[in-house]
Structures are given as C-alpha cells and as structure tokens.
C-alpha cells in the first residue's frame, strides 16, 4: 500500500519534470507547445538514464538528437528546392496558464497514462519506446536523420523498461 502511494508520487514528480523540460526545449525552439521531439529530448535528461541507454544500445549518440531535429527541417526545405538558413531567434515565453502540449506531445502523455499499470516507475525508456513507435512527424524524421531503425530503438527501449520493472 505504502509502496504503491510512494510509486504514484514518484511518477507524478517524474511527469512534472518531463513536462517542464519538454516545454523548455519547445520555447528554445520558438514553439509554445512541446511536441514529441521535445518530450524525447526531455526523456534523455531524466536522471534514470534509461532513455540515453536505449539510444546508446541502438548505436546512436543521444546528444546528437537535437542537431538531427534541426537537420530534418533543413532537409525538408531542401526536398522542395529551398536552401534556407533558418534564423535561430530568441526563445519565446511559455504559454501562460494551463499546461498545453502539441498534438504529438499529447499523444505521448495519453500513451503513458494508458500504459501506467504496466510500469511501477515511469522511465525515460518508456517515452523513447512510445516516440520510436510513431511513424510520422518531426521526431520520427529526426530519428531517421540519425539513421536509427525505429523498430530496433523501440524494442531496445521496451526491453530496458521491462528489465527495470522486473528488478
């Protein structure tokens, strides 16, 4: 009973941290609402280290993700024949009031909520597993820009999360 309450409180604290970090990445990216790519970056910052471990086991340097997100925008413009140096610009302030995520960010939160019974403790690997299963969008294209096989990344992340649950 006590363990269940403690686990629930721990998860709430992790979700708060995840959402705040995702929002920070979004505003640095001049977007008010964090998307899946910002949640993925936030998961890599979680202290449990499982998101980073999933990337490393899939053969990719986790710190390369941010540049890959930027690169997929440039690649998309180049695909229509535009070569643009996108100005970095200043971060914009976060949305005032209630927390709001972009559609792809909400999808992650809904997925985490739907599978919460499968994990006693929320881990960065859970977020990686969800994002790796998304076939489209900025995060999916950034993973492709990193030459990551999303199927491999997902199964690696799921295995890490499962091993952590058994322990």
């Amino acid at each position: 009973m006590f363990q269940a309450i403690k686990s629930k409180l721990d998860n709430m604290s992790i979700i708060k941290r995840l959402c705040e970090r995702a929002e920070t990445y979004a505003v640095q990216d001049q977007q008010r609402e964090p998307g899946a790519e910002h949640f993925l970056l936030a998961a890599l910052d979680l202290p449990d280290g499982t998101a980073r471990l999933a990337f490393e086991r899939a053969g990719v340097e986790p710190d390369a993700l941010r540049a890959a997100i930027e690169r997929q925008y440039a690649d998309a413009l180049r695909s229509i024949g535009l070569k643009a140096d996108i100005p970095a610009g200043a971060p914009m302030p976060a949305n005032p009031g209630a927390y709001r995520a972009a559609s792809s960010g909400r999808e992650i939160m809904q997925d985490l909520a739907a599978t919460r019974k499968d994990h006693s403790r929320l881990l960065g690997a859970h977020v990686v597993g969800i994002v790796a299963g998304m076939p489209h969008g900025v995060a999916a294209r950034a993973l492709r820009a990193l030459d990551i096989d999303p199927v491999v990344l997902k199964s690696t992340a799921d295995a890490i999360a499962e091993a952590s649950r058994i322990r």
Binding site: A76, L77, I80, G89, M92, H136
Partner: protein, 73 residues
C-alpha cells in the same frame, strides 16, 4: 530570388508534409523577426497588423511577447 516554379512538391506525402511543417516554422521565425524589427523602428500594432493582413487584436495576441522581448511592450 526564389522562383516559385523552381519549388518541387514531393510526390511522397510524408516528404511533402514534412516540407509544409518546415515552411510554417520558417514563416513563423521570419514573422517574429520582422515584427521585432518593425517595433524597433517604431511601427504601431495597427500598422503591423495591416501589413500582415490580420486584425490588430490577432497580431497582438499572437506576437505580443515579441514586444516584451523587444523592451517596448
């Protein structure tokens, strides 16, 4: 100068939609930089709104934080 005829629309929907996302992001950034510059040069919100083809309220709602960053809110 970019000739719009030179823009190739990819036939793969995933690629075409990725380009749309990147273009919107580029447009947003250009818009914010242009508004920052306009405010710096003393433009009013009415003038900015007119140039953007939107109402003054809509311009202010979407871009007022640019004014705050510009120090002239």
């Amino acid at each position: 100068m970019i000739d719009p005829h030179d823009i190739i629309v990819p036939t793969d929907p995933d690629e075409a939609l990725a380009a749309v996302v990147a273009l919107r992001r580029l447009a947003d950034r250009i818009e914010r930089e242009a508004v920052r510059s306009a405010l710096h040069q003393g433009w009013s919100w009415s003038r900015i709104a007119q140039a953007l083809g939107i109402s003054k309220q809509a311009a202010h709602k979407r871009l007022s934080d640019v004014a705050a960053n510009n120090g002239s809110a």
